[in-house]
Subunit: 256 residues, 2 copies
């Protein structure tokens, strides 16, 4: 039987400890192609590079194990990698492990999750992984077992078309993790605190800072699972239509 | 009665004809605050500026009519503008008019629609407008009536919490537009055709080009409405959970 093929990317850059951990965890399971940004692209969401050419650089080229850096965004890495480096579609695309949570509304800003969604748009079963610790030197050891379990499962039972998984792992010791929980996405928001300063020439400038407010922490949400020591797994859709509201409008139109 | 207040942004930049048309159309309806990128940010999606300070520049400051340019992304414009320039939340946020379609899967890449979603995340009723013509010199006259109708309606009947509207306007003459249609988002994809070249030093580089393939053009989708001469209005959700799949998993777990 032909060995399966996993495509790996991230948004923290090809040298980030998170993607290095992810590669190490899944390398025994399948052939690997890594295409990741040459530098960090946090907060880049689904951005693509328009009007500037993109370059690829081959870093590793062993049988069944290739690593490329790409000058573009995480979504560029997926588009270019799938088109130029994969003769057949890979069996699975995984993105991460992100340095920091992508639970709740965070996924809107996340390059890691945008790359995973881009895989899904291209018909590849795709999963994004994030550790709830923003530090560059975070300890990824607690991610090992959940990542291997989820990736093995996805290789054996391919995800349905159009579904992306958002997996977040709490910042705990391996033995403190209570299990993996299927969840819905909790609604939250960033409470921004712009730090307003004045430059030496008398002009104002602003630093974007802030903290995440997980507004919805009720049972069933990813926020709640993570606070209670579980790995959260949220199946995401590409269809952002609000059907509840679409239905209400149609009913009103009929009534009117 | 206090005059209502509309916040306006876009992703093509503060000088783009699209946002200038939008401002002209709605200025008679309400007080206006514009905060838009100082240069174009197409394809920037929900990107935020991390690690670099952001600047605001005041361009117009009349009673009830203010325009600022911002050095950041469309989402930065919304965050910074709402926090630093609005003592009370505006009654409505509108983004656009984008030079080019944001129907279907295009909204994933769109700074215009990300800015509208950011408004919704911040509790502001928000609408993104796009004209299905990518040209800088597109004719926005067909947008006037639909924009005024939709904005007037949203000022009189505030949108429900958590809903963003994605409005796309076909590239037709005003008299050719058949009406406004509530739709669901059609699923589509970009068919990329990377243009691979070699630089004078022998190294490869790639230009991202391509064409949009509106895979789903069935009745009820935005793709279908636009192809048939209607303005499409899709209510969007912030909650990207795939509930169909979440339900299937829960049922399987119960069965198992």
């Amino acid at each position: 039987m032909k060995r399966q093929h996993i495509f790996i990317t991230n948004d923290d850059g090809v040298d980030a400890p998170g993607i290095r951990s992810l590669i190490n965890f899944v390398r025994p399971l399948a052939d690997i192609t890594v295409v990741a940004p040459q530098k960090g692209h946090s907060g880049q969401s689904h951005a693509v590079t328009v009007g500037v050419p993109i370059r690829l650089k081959r870093l590793v080229n062993e049988p069944g194990y290739r690593i490329f850096s790409c000058s573009g965004t995480p979504v560029d890495c997926v588009k270019l990698g799938l088109q130029q480096l994969c003769e057949e579609p890979p069996d699975l695309l995984i993105s991460g492990i992100n340095h920091g949570s992508n639970a709740g509304i965070n996924l809107f800003y996340s390059g890691t999750m945008a790359a995973a969604s881009e895989g899904t748009i291209n018909g590849i079963p795709s999963i994004g992984f994030s550790l709830c610790n923003y530090s560059h030197n975070a300890d990824f050891s607690a991610c090992k077992n959940p990542v291997i379990e989820i990736v093995n499962n996805a290789l054996e039972n391919p995800l349905p078309k159009g579904v992306t998984y958002n997996v977040n792992i709490p910042d705990l010791k391996p033995e403190e993790i209570k299990g993996i929980k299927e969840c819905r996405m909790g609604i939250g928001r960033w409470v921004e605190e712009f730090d307003k300063r004045t430059d030496p020439f008398g002009r104002d400038y602003f630093w974007l800072t802030g903290r995440y407010d997980p507004v919805e922490v009720v049972d069933g949400t990813d926020h709640h699972a993570l606070e209670n020591g579980f790995v959260s797994m949220v199946p995401l859709t590409l269809d952002m239509t609000n059907y509840t509201y679409l239905k209400n409008i149609a009913e009103n139109v009929q009534k009117g």
